[in-house]
Amino acid sequence: MNQDVKSRLRRTMMFVPGNSPKMINNADLYGADTIMFDVEDSIAVSQKDAARIMVKYALKAIPFSCETAVRVNHVTQTPFGIDDLKAILPSKPDLIRLPKTESVDEVRLVTKMIKEVEQREGFPEGSINIICAIESVRGLYEVRAIAKEPRVIAIALGGEDFIADLRTQRTQRGIEFYHARSEILMAARDAGIQAMDTVYADVANLEGFRQEVTDIKDMGFDGKSVVHPTQIGIVHEIYTPTEKQIAHAVKVLACYKDAVENNKGVITVDGKMIDGPIVVRAERIVAQAKAAGILTEEGCKDEK
């Protein structure tokens, strides 16, 4: 699998109802890293076919400037999912989001369909990948295996359905998601893929949103699903490294590059040893900084 797809910046995934032409037209204007066209839970049963067709044509006609994803209906638990995939896959979305994933069988079924379409349409292999949403306890118990499926590039938490399964409700401090978030994050990291947090539906409560985003970022999540453009800026702000972090990361990468080119032995920056994981972290910080439009220049000041 293409490493670029796996490590692509996905700070924000914005939900866009698949049956709203106005919202589809404007979807990529707000700066979300990924736009997620929904034909599942935000679409009434009577509108499922309309949404499916609209998303199919939108993906073909509009050159969206960011990554595109489509949340299809469940492939075995609803009568709509297979038809969604048949209609939409040939339009080459970057990602398919599978809701309420509970077994590797579902993922394998979808993977098979993707491979067939890629071959038939002449798309490069690995053009279309999968993000699996865990929205039930059963899904959570299968998440380690699901995360390791070859086409799966991220695991997401689907919070609303999950707490229904737990028979509890949302709180500001988020204790109801504590275990699910941790498990999903562990499974994602074990498989070497990304973890996305659930939506925050109370769009008016920007302070509460800010707190939640800060918490999940500190936990280690790569990004968050959003439902309104006003949420995007906040997530990106929180995921933007500080000037100090950026300066340090740039320095680390410069020193690393210098060490590799000049065959130096042990590398230190600011008195600390630099090894693999620190370099990867520095690369991620620089990517986030670039995405936030912050540019810096600094050279390697540490020498051995």
């Binding site: 204007l29 707000y30 453009p229």
Partner: protein, 518 residues
């Protein structure tokens, strides 16, 4: 004959004097003649200006067929005065009246009936909207001559130059004393600044004040002095407070408007003009308020203090004045109750006439010192010409306002608009009608990209560092065409009798003709 904006002009337009064609932004100076003025009159001691009814006021002025009257539009869509006065005039069977108002709103649709029956035969205004706008677009010839559309500065010029002779100015004033000193700062129908009225009161032959708050004491400070006033009439209500100035105007929550506003604020930030002592005009629409909010945040963050703001003043600007972000606020029209309170209480919030604001034929209207302005548009074209008066169907639905004035005078004029409205691109090859010539427009900010006038290489260079998507206006149009295709041009009548209105540029030259769509 083509004018410098590329518009074809007929040699003669029915009912109108001969116009010089538009030749450029600051090309047409006045003839060296004295300013116009009203006839001298004597005022005897102990005379009572207060009359019991509007009908008696109309009689007292001697208003006759063929005369010109004026109104102001400080009550926006909550205005009752226009209708009260027209009812009184019509009831006396007076006909062939010219209404030279500062602007018209949807609440003035009733004028259609007075045009139909010949009471009103000519209009001069900044704006035409709603049913009246549609009616006039479809029925040229109902008036004895085309509507003259002027900007606020242009109207001030025309009045001071004597081109518009107002016989009677009927002015709604929120508070008035028995001598005729009036203000808009208090009263149940308070509207804040009386900037447009302040001009008419000095030049009209006669002035009738219409108020719903006639007080026994003395009005001070006054915006209209008693020395300008002939008669006063007290009525039940001069307007609907909700329509005049309801609460605090809310900043838009519309994501596209916010996107536009944020981009516009960024353009200002990186333009090279955003520094201590800069001046700005922001306007009152939902998007303009959002720009104000982002600008305020940037000013606070970067510790920038401006010199003055002018407008169209909203509560947001009043707040920025209070916070010391600006030294002074020049107010020609007040939009909400917070701003009205500021005008009352903050000495650095100053009321100015529309002449002080934007008259090009004066030694220095305040806008001549403006750095940055934010403006809207119905359409823009490849030459950066701007339309604000008609839509893409050719219907009259907007207002010239101060648009062309402030674009010409300011150092940085920014248009903010969505690239696509409905299924139509807003960047045309040629706009339906020009209100503001492209040589006065510097930047066009849309939700899908930003275009800078090629005349402004300095701005192009400055904005490159901003991270904003800067492109040519042709490229911007291409973005729209790729998404929705190129629309057909609408067909307009070529007959001169089908001329609906003329767009008179602020210096009195002829900028454009508004023709009837077929």
């Amino acid at each position: 004959m083509k004018n410098k904006a590329g518009r074809e002009l007929p040699d003669h337009i029915y009912g109108l004097k001969a116009y010089r064609p538009y030749e450029g932004l600051f090309v047409n100076p006045p003839e060296p003649v004295p300013m116009a003025g009203r006839t001298l009159r004597i005022g005897r001691p102990s005379s009572n200006k207060v009359l019991p009814s509007l009908i008696e006021a109309v009689e007292a002025t001697g208003l006759r067929d063929g005369m010109t009257i004026s109104f102001h539009h400080h009550f926006r869509n909550g205005d009752y005065v226009n209708k009260l006065v027209m009812t009184a005039i019509a009831s006396k069977g007076i006909k062939d009246i010219t209404i030279a108002t500062s602007s018209l709103n949807d609440c003035h649709d009733f004028l259609i009936d007075y045009i139909e029956d010949g009471t009103v035969t000519a209009l001069e205004t900044s704006g035409l909207r709603g049913k009246l706008g549609a009616y006039l677009t479809k029925n040229p010839g109902k008036l004895k001559r085309p509507v003259i559309v002027r900007s606020h500065g242009g109207r001030a010029r025309a009045i001071e130059a004597g081109e518009v002779k107002i016989d009677v100015a009927f002015m709604g004033v929120p508070t008035c004393d028995r001598f005729g000193n009036a203000t808009g700062r208090m009263g149940k129908s308070a509207c804040g600044s009386l900037g447009y009225a302040m001009l008419d009161s000095r030049f009209a032959e006669q002035v009738v004040l219409v108020t719903d708050n006639l007080i026994d004491g003395y009005v001070f400070p006054y915006s209209i002095p008693q020395t300008d006033v002939n008669y006063i009439v007290a009525v039940e209500a001069i307007g609907d407070p909700e329509g005049i100035a309801s609460g605090i105007l809310k900043i838009t929550k519309n994501p596209i408007q916010l996107l536009l506003a944020e981009a516009a604020a960024k353009v200002i930030e990186h333009s090279g003009y955003f520094k201590n002592g800069y001046s700005i005009q922001m306007g009152g629409g939902g998007s303009a308020l959002a720009v104000g909010r982002f600008i305020r945040e940037k000013m606070l963050k970067q510790q920038i203090k401006g010199s003055f703001g002018v407008g169209g003043v909203t509560g947001l600007f009043a707040q920025m004045l209070e916070e010391g972000l600006f030294e002074i606020c020049y107010d020609t029209q007040t939009f909400d109750t917070t701003a009205i309170q500021s005008l009352r209480e903050n000495p650095r919030h100053v009321e100015i006439s529309s002449s002080f604001y934007a008259n090009p034929w004066s030694p220095g209207p305040i806008i001549n010192d403006l750095d940055v302005v934010i403006l809207g548009a119905t359409e823009v074209d490849l030459d950066f010409n701007v339309n604000v008066i008609t839509n893409s169907n050719g219907l009259l639905m907007g207002a010239s306002g101060g648009h062309s004035d402030i674009a010409a005078a300011s150092k940085l004029a920014i248009i903010v608009m969505p690239l696509i409205r409905g299924r139509l691109p807003m960047v045309r090859d040629r706009v339906q009608n020009i209100v503001t010539p492209g040589e006065s427009i510097d930047v066009v900010v849309t939700d899908r990209g930003i275009a800078v006038n090629p005349r402004r290489q300095d701005l192009i260079d400055n904005l490159r560092k901003s991270g904003l998507k800067i492109m040519t206006i042709e490229e911007l149009q291409e973005v729209a065409h790729k998404l929705i295709g190129k629309p057909q041009e609408i067909a307009l009548s070529k007959e001169d009798k089908d001329i609906v209105a003329i767009v008179e540029y602020r210096d009195g030259t002829l900028l454009d003709i508004i023709r009837k769509p077929l």
